[in-house]
Symmetry: C2
Subunit: 346 residues, 2 copies
């Protein structure tokens, strides 16, 4: 217990700053705080191996006396989005957005009635939609998101998020985020980390809201994209979205996207599916202290339970290899006291 | 003069913080500082319209009472590199690097002896090299920079910078940076700006040194690139550079690169050539206070003088339209007291 309190003092020190006396965490000496006075930065995490591993890693890389100390600019942490920071069931939320866009634009495209994957959308054929795979979804995205300026698209995304609600919880999609991960983002940033999203989702679908919801600004969002082109229309410069794929930020694409946008290897990576495998692999293969984490969806009551057999967020190879690679597997049912920010008040 | 001192107090306030008494800048009341006590954040800039315009803009967007106040996350400033932050004469420095690489690798490529643009390099035919244009240079870059991992390339760049020297000054290339621009970068950052490089140069040529030289971390560097691919070699994940163009971050490409990497429109843009025109156009077309600046190379004695007729860093349309667009043109000979950090000690 004594060691644990010391550790608590270490990780709290950077964030309580002027609060040593209040918390009882003296920088030296024997005074120990009563445990109930210590503010836990990960309150929605149950005590356990996963939570302890997070604390241990942060202490290792932020303690100037640690052999694994990492200078602040190198404290890069990357997070998958779908299934890692917010839910992805019963369907990736961007797919729901895309479906809504297809339906809204269908009257202008009679040919979609007999053309896949559009037909699947218009007939609410979820299985056919899932079968179309990521490329099919991107094709839908290109057809429905292109031909407008970047600013027009941002407005479309914001308008949708302001009104659309999740089919089972009835909550706005931006409330389908994981409270434990919000606390983790804050905790890492309070300890000098720079937090990035690295998602297979569309970069311009995420950027309009990630700063408000996660505290992650647009320049720290990496994602899949279509091409844009610069034009001057009636004297006004605009960026026009083209129906042409630019980059798929998934699987082997994630380390490429990280290199392109961040330009240095992260020291911590958080994902939930085999689509994140290479991101964790790339991150944890670097020198010094590294941290790879999988969020494992195990809670059918409070969220969803799925892994090896799922079409969405399949986690198979990751489960097989996590232990041998030293990656942490978070068991949502056991490790998370709360899942959604609003769940306690339900 | 009284107004000028007030302005000085305003722009100094955010950066002196605890130093009100020392500088004499009282947040209220009539005490005025003796001018010589005030620390000028732009010491290498001569008093004049350009310097005043910088101060005025920063006050406009950082004073919470200003109608043009800009929240800190939106204070994005973008800088071209070649000719704006460091010199680009008698040849873009990356071209010198590329030439050195071609010569170093020539024995492995006998076919280069009769193949342009390689032949031009091996025969020191500068005119033919310039005539090959940006695409020719990128071709050289792809041929000499590809086929290795990103980490191997970073080592090659660092090794070259550690030994190569500028042909006329004899200085390392990383000392061919403009002292007034270093001060400007610091001044903007001290006022809550996030500073980015947006350059036609290779993104992976710049990232190994921009943090140490400019205080700009790799994730805030945007540039031209070749494609990379993720591979696992003998169990070790690597990113391999392919001889295939990914993106040219020049002219119409600059707003595209800004949108891709930053995801929001900057409020200030600094360039020196027509290759920066669209970046300034995109930046200054936004709502609210905007700031577009051209550095005009007018000092043949201390640096170089060139504009409309130059093959390198041509500034023609920009000079024609700057006034009408409200962009500032910095006259290096008149506006900069010092050009290079080491020049005062020469």
């Amino acid at each position: 217990m004594r060691r644990k309190l010391d550790v608590l003092c270490w990780f709290l020190a950077p964030i309580v700053m002027v609060g040593f006396v209040a918390t009882g965490c003296a920088p030296q000496g024997d005074v120990q705080p009563p445990l109930e006075v210590v503010v836990d930065p990960l309150q929605s995490w149950n005590d356990g191996e996963a939570k302890q591993a997070i604390f241990d890693f942060v202490v290792r890389v932020t303690d100037a006396a640690s052999p694994d100390f990492v200078a602040e600019p190198e404290r890069i942490a990357v997070f998958d989005n779908d299934g890692t920071l917010w839910s992805e069931q019963p369907m990736y939320f961007q797919v729901v957005f895309t479906v809504d866009r297809v339906k809204a634009l269908a009257s202008e495209h009679p040919e979609w009635a007999t053309q896949q994957p559009f037909q699947a959308v218009l007939e609410d054929d979820t299985q056919a939609l899932v079968a179309a795979g990521e490329h099919g979804l991107l094709e839908l995205g290109m057809a429905t998101h292109a031909g407008m300026t970047t600013e027009e698209f941002e407005t479309v995304v914001k308008d949708w998020l302001a009104t659309a609600t999740h089919p089972t919880t009835g909550r706005p999609y931006t409330e389908m985020v994981y409270q434990p991960m919000l606390e983790l983002l804050d905790y890492l940033r309070a300890n000098g980390f720079k937090t990035f999203i690295v998602s297979g989702g569309g970069i311009e679908f995420m950027r309009p809201w990630t700063e408000a919801v996660y505290g992650i600004p647009p320049e720290q969002v990496v994602g899949s994209s279509i091409k844009t082109v610069f034009e001057v229309r009636d004297g006004v410069p605009v960026l026009v979205r083209l129906p042409e794929l630019n980059f798929i930020d998934d699987k082997e694409g994630k380390p490429v996207g990280i290199n392109s946008h961040i330009g240095r290897r992260p020291i911590a990576a958080f994902g939930n599916s085999d689509g994140d495998f290479q991101m964790l692999e790339w991150t944890t293969a670097g020198d010094g202290a590294r941290f790879g984490v999988y969020v494992h969806h195990t809670d059918a009551e409070r969220e969803w339970a799925y892994d090896r057999e799922s079409h969405i967020g399949r986690l198979d190879r990751g489960l097989d290899e996590a232990d041998a690679r030293g990656w942490i597997v978070v068991n949502m049912r056991e490790d998370w006291r709360t899942i959604f920010p609003w769940a306690d008040s339900e």
